[in-house]
């Protein structure tokens, strides 16, 4: 402990000799988690991809769960929708999500793992709660409806990601990006800003609230 490190808890400032290895591990881990899910992405396979010994993974990330946590540190980089004309937020949202998803295999990894592990599901939940919900709050009329509307938006966005990037339905994967934007834009727009549709004219008439 004489060279390069600061007080504990502080983020390290100077570089370590092993940084390239750490990065290689993370890169391999993201790839494996994205293509195989949590269980099938073995530490041994990840280490092989990163061309190092499995024990290094343990040394640097403590445990497989720790590695996963480090591999999927995600910032959705949500844009400031309040700066846009109201009628364009839907399309902007759709476009932004497509871009994020296609440049970042981390998101696919997260979704794959989320489907099988409680920890992954909670993580995904946190990410959407912390990052999508505030955006909905910016645009939504009634603050009380924000969670409901954010849930609908998330369902459509995650559903597209699921069919396109995880399950890889050909008809979903073949869609052009701008075509998706054109279809999903109005949907998201409506979920965010349209007046509450009320309940369909079933027994009881248009009274809502669950």
């Amino acid at each position: 402990m004489y060279t390069n490190d600061s007080e504990p808890g502080e983020t390290r400032t100077t570089a370590r000799r092993s940084d390239s290895t750490r990065a290689a591990i993370l890169r391999a881990a993201r790839e494996r988690f994205a293509s195989d899910g949590y269980e099938r992405a073995t530490i041994r396979a990840i280490a092989r991809d990163a061309k190092i010994d499995p024990s290094m993974v343990m040394r640097y990330y403590g445990t497989k769960e720790g590695l996963f946590a480090a591999a999927v540190a995600i910032d959705l980089e949500m844009p400031d929708l309040s700066a846009l004309p109201r009628q364009e937020v839907g399309q902007a949202l759709a476009r932004h999500f497509l871009a994020m998803w296609e440049e970042n295999e981390v998101l696919t990894a997260l979704l794959r793992v989320a489907a099988t592990s409680r920890a992954g599901a909670e993580r995904t939940q946190d990410i959407f709660r912390d990052q999508v919900l505030p955006v909905a709050r910016q645009v939504c009329p009634d603050p009380e409806q924000v969670p409901e509307r954010a849930a609908l938006v998330s369902s459509q966005l995650l559903g597209l990601a699921l069919t396109r990037y995880v399950l890889r339905f050909p008809s979903a994967a073949d869609l052009a990006r701008e075509e998706i934007v054109a279809w999903l834009g109005p949907t998201l727009q409506r979920y965010l800003t349209a007046p509450h549709p009320g309940l369909p004219d079933h027994p009881g008439g248009p009274s809502r609230r669950r």
Copy 2:
């Protein structure tokens, strides 16, 4: 081979003494696959739930993959939408899917596994291709747009199922069924029957086709 069985390839008509056990295995398997996914749903755990020996599972279903295949034999029971007024197909579709999903944990199991295994993904793909696409064909104006529109419908339906039944986002799980119907209905309706939105007014104007 003297008692009760018919020619090979034919579906068995009479009952076997082990039918209750087989059913117990399937029931336990569906539960485990639905809650744990493919890898974490161990044969031993399934056998324990069914109160029999793990080797019985192998005897009756050959292999773990075989068990999974037998456990998720799914019929979406798609209703005949052509009998409905055109403007109600969206809501009817949403309502039907919610009902199917809530009475049948098989669907959750399938989706959980689909996210991590290629076989599961293909199976899900087949189910939606064979069962949702024909329905879309019934309602869709232009036959050439059927796959595209079916993909959009599937993305919204699976997205809701994902957030509500698999990831269990509280804000999605808390929604009332009829409220979901009221929100998703128009979306599905539009994906199925609305005129193609064209591409947004980006460079090139409203020319489509990917």
